[in-house]
Symmetry: C2
Subunit: 482 residues, 2 copies
């Protein structure tokens, strides 16, 4: 049956190939808008990106297009009147006889500067024709997949084909900054704009490696914290004040050093105890997955793996928590030497969460540990620890209708059965959709494990982009018939 | 005799007052050039500042004006062809019957951005007429004193007075970045351009507090280090890689946490043992100095003093070493949340040195300790620790001719006997001049202890600027006659 259906899909696949130049151009336009949600000064660009999507949706024949405003951004924020970027909603088809698929993606991106070490301008797409790779911030995370859905519609329009499902799109502009405002919107629209949705599909993650497509049924959550330590009224000269005032950096570094060990062990008491025990059945699942230490090393560009075998790597990426120290705001961060005693420093770290860590309980443990460690220092400096944002972990059933449809499409396009995987990253909205709409969520990745999301030289292979569009469309066909 | 001489100086003091508007304008011009030596992209502005000084010197009648080029800046540096800013040399008078005073100052400044928290643009001088204060980067460190010397000449020219000494000026543009190239130049010119110099005067430090002028006979040195830890080939996404790779930030924070305690105690073994023991005689010297915990708190804008009495504060500022953690290059340093695993992080710290710490021996202890601490981590990351720059401590005789002359001038202008103090900051060139020229060095400060050198809202009180010019000129008169 699969081969019969595959034949049926051939004209669609062919049309995607024909439209390739136009699809690359569409991604180029999207990348050229620096929609960095964490940079308040770039907020107008995030809004510009929303408007770009609206005009694309209009042109493709979407209806009921709405820009949902989310109000001002809550603290901590420099400009207290800063507006959150809008959520873009749209429909393609409203046939009650068809299933309705809600497609979620985000149009904001991580920060990027050429000076960070990019080979080319991050916000000008670079097409390396020899390698057949598209470089640019957002290429894989998440502009490639977002415009991928639009490409699927364009191919159908060109063919004069009816879409086998009703499609609802929901594109947000704050995913890289905690999806502020989205939870409330989803809750509010669950019985309104999103009424009748049968399934939610998200294409915002990656293959595990670089060769084999995957479908993803689990994600880690993420609780992001900051430790604020404040002393002098302004930055001081270390010659004049060194040795006679308590320096906030000294305290912050001490406290941050008590959070995690070089081997990745989280040192905050009680966190590991909340992690669900590994069953024998689950342990065996990792045997089949196509992955290796070498693939991790290739993706990280180093030999810094903490584990010497595939199974431990996968477990620590998927089912164990991790703690990363991201940086310090307020300290000297330039090149060269500056003899400053920073007056106020803010340490940033996050914990990736897994079953059965309870987010609120984790916050308590974090606050308690850090407060105790700071109090041990007996410092006259002022101290505060706070959660910047959180998002829960998620685990689904990889054998339900949508996963089965996506597996068929993947096999048609790539010629292999995908691996069923979990992911280390967080897409907090996954859980919100599942809870508020009461439907299954499918994670259907487009890019590869070495795409460099959140890193310099972020890329998307043209083959992943084009075959990804085919897979997204094929999935809609199989799911529409299931 | 002092009062007779003071009468003699009255016309000079009066002329300084008359020229006040012009002198403020001169400082304004100097502040408007952002001559930040640590920022490679601003190097042309540092050169522009050198050219500004040259044109001022010409207009005032200086002769033999030279711009001494110092070649390319040695690593670590981003642009390997970057030229060091030139040293500005000039003479005023060459009468063999007179003494010759060499005046040193620096025309580069610390970095400053409005966003750092400045109330006004750092590179546009703001004259608060109500408080009678001049705000701007470099106002007190060290553009105020540098143009102060020019003002002294201008007042003499206006009066038609002969300068009682020959003056040689030596203005450098790399003081805030380790005075690269200056030592070699001083050594080279000691028997050439600087031949016949009888005394060196430096106005590049501050009063201890805000009320009483001081003369300074001692300085701490400064050894500035960086710890480089490098793992992945590029920054990574903490969701995908958290828990499975060794993170450079984790290692760096661990190592940095072993350097100093909240109470200021240096934890590197062997450093304290090198410090000269405190004699009873020296201990008594601190009794007389006008200072208090309250003055420290006012200057730091906080109640974060590590010591509860004047004497301990002064000892820890002047005669004990201190270690400050300045910041981290390569980690996330912005506001908000970024879920990045930084690939390469560079921790910056410096140690203020005092008698009898031997700089090379200190480097050895630092490298040994940090290497041991890193090795304890058993991390697969790459590690390096290096000295960025060093400068030795300095102690002089506060009862020699030049200190006596400066004390008289100070008393004439301010009506009080100055305190004889040491300083916590470093002016490495002090020692170089003393050694290479074989003459005494005097530190004659212009600004107050709360001027905020290296901090936001750096300022110079107009009274300190104008009375400072009088003091510099008065000093030249008394020294010329001594």
């Amino acid at each position: 049956m699969a081969s019969y259906e595959k034949l049926e899909l051939e004209p669609f696949f062919q049309t995607i190939e024909e439209l390739k130049p136009k699809f690359i151009q569409r991604l180029q336009k999207a990348i050229s808008i620096p929609s960095v949600s964490s940079d308040e000064s770039l907020r107008p660009k995030v809004v510009e990106m929303a408007n770009f999507l609206v005009s694309e949706l209009k042109e493709l024949g979407f209806t009921d297009i709405q820009l949902k405003e989310l109000g001002t951004q809550p603290p901590p924020v420099a400009d207290s009147t800063l507006q959150l970027p809008p959520i873009v909603l749209g429909r393609f088809g409203t046939d009650p006889a068809k299933k309705t698929v809600l497609v979620y993606g985000h149009y904001d991106v991580q920060p990027a500067l050429k000076e960070d070490g990019w080979s080319t301008e991050p916000f000008e797409m670079h097409y390396d024709q020899q390698k057949d790779i598209l470089y640019g911030r957002g290429s894989t995370d998440d502009k490639g997949p977002v415009v991928g859905w639009l490409n699927v519609i364009e191919a159908h329009n060109k063919l004069g084909w009816e879409l086998p499902v009703n499609l609802v799109v929901c594109f947000e502009g704050m995913e890289e900054s905690g999806s502020l405002g989205l939870d409330d919107l989803v809750a509010k629209e669950a019985k309104q704009y999103f009424k009748g949705v049968d399934q939610v599909t998200i294409s915002d993650n990656y293959w595990l490696g670089t060769k084999k497509p995957v479908l993803t049924y689990g994600l880690r959550g993420c609780n992001y914290y900051q430790i604020i330590i404040e002393g002098p009224g302004a930055d001081l000269h270390s010659g004049i004040f060194g040795g006679i005032v308590a320096e906030p950096m000294t305290d912050l570094i001490k406290v941050m050093s008590t959070l995690v060990d070089t081997d990745g062990k989280i040192l905050i008491p009680g966190v590991d105890a909340m992690v669900a025990p590994l069953t024998e059945k689950e342990d065996k699942l990792y045997d089949a997955i196509d992955f290796s230490v070498e693939e991790l090393n290739a993706a990280s560009g180093s030999k810094t793996s903490l584990h010497d075998n595939k199974k431990d790597i996968l477990k620590h990426r998927w089912r164990y928590p991790s703690l990363s120290l991201h940086g310090i705001e307020g300290a000297f961060s330039g090149s060269g030497a500056k003899t400053v005693i920073p007056a106020k420093v803010v340490g940033k770290f996050s914990i990736r969460t897994v079953p059965d860590i309870v987010s609120g309980k984790l916050d308590e443990l974090v606050f308690k540990h850090i407060t105790e460690e700071f109090n041990k220092l007996k410092s006259p400096n002022k101290f505060k620890v706070e959660l910047i944002h959180d998002g829960n972990y998620w685990v689904s059933d990889p054998f339900n209708e949508s996963f089965t449809a996506a597996a068929k499409a993947t096999q048609d396009v790539w010629g292999v059965v995908p691996d069923f995987t979990r992911e280390g990253g967080s897409i907090p909205i996954t859980l919100t959709f599942e809870k508020e709409l009461g439907v299954d969520v499918l994670l259907l990745p487009m890019g590869r494990g070495d795409d460099g999301a959140h890193s310099i030289n972020e890329k998307l292979d043209v083959s992943n982009y084009i075959n990804g569009c085919k897979t997204l469309g094929g999935y809609l066909h199989y799911f529409g018939k299931s």
